[in-house]
């Protein structure tokens, strides 16, 4: 884990400030670990209760270790709520939105950053103005459009508005603005048309930005609740976020199954995060928004 030293002070800099107090990081570890336990406790508790009996969940004082692990709770998830259908909806809307945004936002971002056309400034201002508007302001008309198309309770209906993103366009535009002109000019001199320049020269450079946009879109799409709740009324056509909330609204006492379902719903994203931790954290930090 070399980062602690590498990210700061260039090698060979004067001895670090406080460097003489060696080993004084012990109390920092104590504080960070204590805080870390608080941060992680809900996840651990969720995992433990998902493997307990309902009686154990409701006992006072609490049972911290369930003893015999109740894996059956996980089997019940599939019979008590349409988990597989909901999982499939979540995956579908996430894929549709992410692929859509990667294609559309990078193209529009590229054009806004590096092409000249009439009304460029006006169109850009229009797109960016959306960034300042809270989603409630367009939800009712969006619902009407989706309803009018007969898309309620469909993947298309849940995914559609989120295929387009002002934020994604802005993110990609910022990236393309920073690419030196020379690369583009060289390709043009070789006779490439604008699409070829974009596709063969510019996009391959955009890896980190496309990665950040992917992370943001996947996270938001998987976790979003309000819009899916509005356009899907049947449990089997909801994504997991809405499905879990609806299930919890119906049954108030089936705690263990509720926990097992939540664990399963979160697991794909949390595993992805743990595997790609640095990229996820940097991607989110640098783009500044979920």
């Amino acid at each position: 884990m070399p980062e602690a030293t590498l990210t700061r002070a260039p090698a060979g800099a004067a001895p670090r400030r406080r460097g003489s107090r060696h080993g004084s990081n012990a109390w920092a570890h104590v504080l960070l670990a204590t805080g870390g336990v608080v941060m992680v406790f809900p996840f651990v508790w969720q995992l433990l209760t998902s493997l307990s009996t309902n009686a154990q969940v409701m006992s006072v004082p609490p049972v911290f270790w369930p003893g015999e692990l109740q894996w059956g709770n996980y089997a019940e998830v599939f019979s008590k709520l349409p988990f597989l259908q909901e999982f499939w909806v979540s995956v579908s809307i996430t894929v549709v939105r992410t692929v859509g945004q990667l294609v559309l936002c990078s193209m529009a971002g590229y054009a806004f950053a590096r092409m000249r056309f009439p009304l460029r400034g006006v169109l850009l201002a229009l797109v960016l103005s959306i960034l300042m508007v809270p989603s409630q302001v367009y939800l009712i008309p969006q619902y009407q459009i989706v309803n009018g198309l007969g898309w309620l309770n469909t993947v298309a209906g849940i995914a559609a508005p989120g295929v387009f993103s002002a934020f994604g366009t802005f993110l990609m535009m910022q990236f393309f603005k920073g690419v030196p002109d020379s690369l583009e000019e060289a390709a043009r001199l070789d006779g490439a048309n604008p699409f070829q320049v974009f596709w063969r020269v510019m996009l391959p450079l955009a890896g980190p930005s496309l990665g950040a946009l992917t992370i943001i879109t996947v996270l938001w799409s998987w976790n979003d609740l309000l819009w899916p709740l509005i356009v899907s009324t049947r449990a089997e056509s909801m994504p997991l976020a809405a499905g879990i909330a609806t299930f919890a609204g119906r049954t108030t006492t089936d705690y263990t199954v509720m926990m097992a379902a939540s664990v399963l719903a979160m697991a794909p994203i949390l595993l992805l995060f743990i595997v790609l931790q640095r990229r996820v954290i940097d991607g989110l930090a640098h783009s500044g928004l979920k």
């Binding site: 992680v40 996840f43 209760t49 006072v60 054009a111 030196p180 002109d181 609740l225 939540s262 991607g283």
Partner: protein
Amino acid sequence: MTSVDRSPRAGAGVASPARGSTPRPAGRAGGADRRPRRSHDGWWPVLFVLPTMFGVVLFYLWPIVQTGYFSFTEWGAFGGQTWVGAENYVRLASDPDLGTAVVNTLVYTAIVLLGIPVAMVVASLLNRPGMRFTAFYRVLYFMPYVAMPTAVAMVWRLIFNGDFGVLNWLLGLVGIDGPAWTSTPGFALVAVSVVGLWTSLGFAIIILSAGLRNIPPELYEAAALDGATAWRQFRSVTVPLLTPSVFFVTVITVINGFQLFDLLYALMGQANPAIQQTQSLVYLFYNEAFLRNDKGFAAAIAMVILLIVGAVTLLQFRMQRRWVTYA
């Protein structure tokens, strides 16, 4: 854990093209407007921009105009809108729920903002010289931020349960008889806010960490040469140079705070007797628009949310001159 190529400047990671192969020119590439280039790109820009413009106009821009119009209409039971002038706004002004929702949203936002000083402490600890396991700690603190809010709300419901929750058991150990957190007005808002703080802490830590790493070590060395104590260095170097990051985190936290919905909905549930006293602005909107189907009234609520968020953000940018130091 390959951190070697990590750019020391936050914000550069996304924007810097092909790290390593092309060193970034000092003044960026000059922007789109200043380069001498062919006078037009023919029809290509249309191909590139049209799909996005289509979606943006259809799903975002036109809806904004429509909502503005809807806020002056009343919706019939079988569709169709009648122009009612400012009636919805008049009704809203005297609706006690609006006041409750505004206050709740502000309280929630304020409590979540308390996470920023905590995040500052955590970030400084993570950035101590020679600190190890920082990647591990970052994962721990960041996990709540990426986890699905509805799913984590389920376990918080149990933790906050009045009869058998872990929290009340812990409070019981020190002789406090805890309430039924999620169904008692007042306490429910605190519960939701605590979860909100827990969720957003990681984000603040990451941004503030990046801010801390941006502070040139020479400044500390110079301060030390001048005989500044560790506390004095913190106060005169760290704090002022961190204010831009703090400002950024504050703005984002406030904007997100005003969007409180998921946690509230999932933690309390629609059938909760305390929901009316605990509702946020977005919940009020959702309830009027899609549960009570009073879409004209809801559109007025949406416009009020737009105004409040706009005003608060503007205010923050106005105030930044007073306390944010740009080096």
